[in-house]
Subunit: 174 residues, 2 copies
């Protein structure tokens, strides 16, 4: 704590956080609590901020919406992109109540925000039954050794569409 200028250090003491950072993270944590109170899904919340304003937020809704991809970060990213009318989060900051799982981390990289803050970490999540470790291990494993059997075939037929994309003159790249 450095109360002289209203700033805080991070949990590892390495960076200086502002009161605004604290406010947005507390909103993400509040969304996590509201989510479990309303039986939406697991105890996770996230907000996306641009220019000091929340432009997307959400809690985990996996079990209430039967959507295994409805993690808090994905819900918040989708809402923020809709509001921005863009598929990129240029100059945005994501605050999430827990370190993202590999799916959400992938989504964050595709959305390309400027920065990401998280409160709990993956070990904390594993201790309450949300173990991402298995997925991290699987991603690093050669595809033919994965637990969900993954089989490659008809590559040549798939490549024909890639060729068509490569030669398409008018297209939106991302």
């Amino acid at each position: 704590m450095q109360p002289c200028n209203g700033q805080l250090t991070t949990d590892d003491g390495q960076k200086v956080m502002t009161e605004q950072d604290k406010k947005f993270m507390r909103r993400a944590i509040e969304l996590a609590q509201k989510g479990i109170d309303a039986d939406q899904g697991g105890p996770f919340g996230a907000v996306v901020v641009k220019d000091g304003e929340i432009i997307g937020e959400g809690c985990n809704r996996v079990t209430s919406t039967n959507d295994p991809t409805a993690h808090a970060e994905i819900v918040a990213i989708r809402e923020a992109c809709k509001n921005l009318n863009d598929f990129q989060l240029d100059g945005c900051v994501i605050y999430t109540s827990c370190e993202p799982c590999p799916m959400c981390l992938g989504a964050i990289y595709w959305a390309r925000p400027a920065r990401m803050y998280f409160a709990c970490n993956r070990e904390d999540a594993a201790r309450i039954g949300f173990d991402d470790h298995f997925i991290y291990d699987e991603i690093e494993r050669p595809i033919e050794q994965r637990h969900i059997e993954s089989i490659n075939f008809l590559r040549e037929e798939g490549l024909a569409v890639f060729e068509n994309w490569a030669h398409k003159l008018v297209k939106t790249e991302y």
Copy 2:
């Protein structure tokens, strides 16, 4: 090819595919082509099959819907789960026209289908401008060394919600 029994081997010659597998993969490839023809997004398609029936399918819609998470696999998984009224894809098979990116691989692990087939691979995707390699590298990198700055703070406040989840008596786990 083993025309005597209507079965095919995979591109690496290791496994035997059925005519039905071929039909579903061709549908995924067709969705990829239709997607680029209709300017929906990148050249990717996917289908989810249960008991020999397609229960979800889709193409990449990132740029047309301003949703960076709308990859073909995620679109197909969300539709299949909605149709099954479940957040798990028990006994299902996913056919995708290209090896999933880390986000989609994470989604597949959360959805837990029985098996996954893919046509093009990640090197093919990189050659037409969709380079997942950066994301794979970032996932393996220690969090403090990532290119999107990732900062941990307010962990203790986040943990309070995890405690509340751990002690919640009635909840749906996933």
